[in-house]
């Protein structure tokens, strides 16, 4: 079963056993989900980008409700923005995107929904993995690109940029492996303008955290 990039990135951000999102992926996880939605719209030929703007080239719905919601929002925007503007705008609705994606992965038989309580008090919904085949396939695809010298496929470049944005490589790779392939990760990810904008947006989040952290 092929998954869309928003589905893939969410699956990678999930701690399989607990069914909770990896803490490592926060706070950039919202941006990674937003980036994944834009990446899928770009590969579906609905939007295109350059270093200064993101624009609609075909407003026709894709048939994927999640992508079409974002596309409609971009089409309706009174002013054009760049990729970073749209990453930040869509990330504001990341909770809704995530909930919809979780439900979709449940209906595909990849996750199950577990209602429970966190610290005995707070209602909490978790999504443990019941079929890990899809996630293993995605990881194998990523490793294939990173550890070989081939020219990457656009979809793989996008996904690698999304994993970088979500801080996921430190979860997938050992420190030694990461040291070995960091330059390759950056080279592959930076081929795509959306990935570069995503990295810029995330650098800004961490800069903000660093700026305000001493005050907390």
């Amino acid at each position: 079963m092929s998954l869309t990039m928003p589905e893939e990135i969410l699956l990678l951000m999930l701690d399989d056993e607990s069914g909770r999102l990896q803490e490592r992926a926060a706070p950039s996880g919202d941006y990674a989900v937003a980036g994944a939605v834009l990446a899928e719209l770009a590969l579906a030929g609905r939007i295109d980008t350059d270093p200064t703007r993101l624009y609609v080239v075909n407003p026709a719905p894709t048939g994927d409700a999640l992508l079409d919601r974002a596309l409609a929002q971009i089409v309706a925007a009174p002013q054009a923005g760049d990729s970073r503007h749209w990453i930040e705008t869509l990330a504001a609705d990341a909770d809704e995107y995530r909930d919809a994606l979780f439900e979709r992965l449940v209906s595909k038989g990849i996750l199950k929904r577990v209602e429970g309580r966190f610290l005995w008090v707070f209602p909490e919904r978790r999504y443990p993995v019941i079929s890990d085949k899809e996630e293993r396939e995605v990881k194998a695809r990523i490793m294939g690109v990173l550890f070989q010298d081939d020219i990457p496929d656009p979809r793989d470049s996008m996904l690698i940029g999304l994993c970088r944005a979500g801080g996921l490589f430190s979860l997938i790779l050992s420190t030694q492996e990461l040291d070995r392939v960091q330059a390759r990760i950056d080279a592959v990810a930076d081929l795509e303008e959306l990935n570069r904008s995503l990295a810029d947006a995330i650098r800004e989040i961490y800069a903000q955290i660093a700026r305000y952290a001493p005050m907390v």
């Binding site: 270093p51 080239v57 081939d150 020219i151 496929d153 080279a187 930076d190 795509e192 303008e193």
Partner: protein, 110 residues
């Protein structure tokens, strides 16, 4: 987008004109991949291309990937300054052979 073909010293040259973006990417991709059949040597001459979007860049990447896969060769020639800048920002200059002129590209592949 207008694409004219010629052959120079056994190298096929596709001269692209106009914008290389989502609207023109499919035709450009089809043309470049067709020229590449049988492992041919192909140059995409961008002298008359004034704009390349992300979708346009993906076409060049796919062409380079295809050339590598089938044992052909692919190079980009004479990008205008703004296009060259986009190629450099994205690191395409590390993956693609980019030459300042068509003659230099042909000479490199011939």
């Amino acid at each position: 987008m207008d694409i004219s073909e010629s052959t120079d010293k056994g190298v096929k040259v596709a001269a692209l004109t106009g914008r290389l973006d989502t609207a023109t990417a499919p035709a450009a991709e089809t043309k470049l991949l067709a020229l590449m059949e049988g492992g041919a040597k192909v140059v995409a001459d961008l002298a008359e291309v004034h704009y390349v979007s992300s979708a346009g860049l993906r076409v060049l990447l796919k062409a380079a990937k295809q050339a590598k896969a089938i044992g052909g060769s692919f190079a980009v020639a004479s990008p205008q300054a703004p296009v060259r800048e986009v190629l450099e920002i994205s690191g395409f200059d590390k993956i693609l052979a980019i030459h300042p002129t068509r003659d230099a590209a042909v000479a490199a592949l011939a």
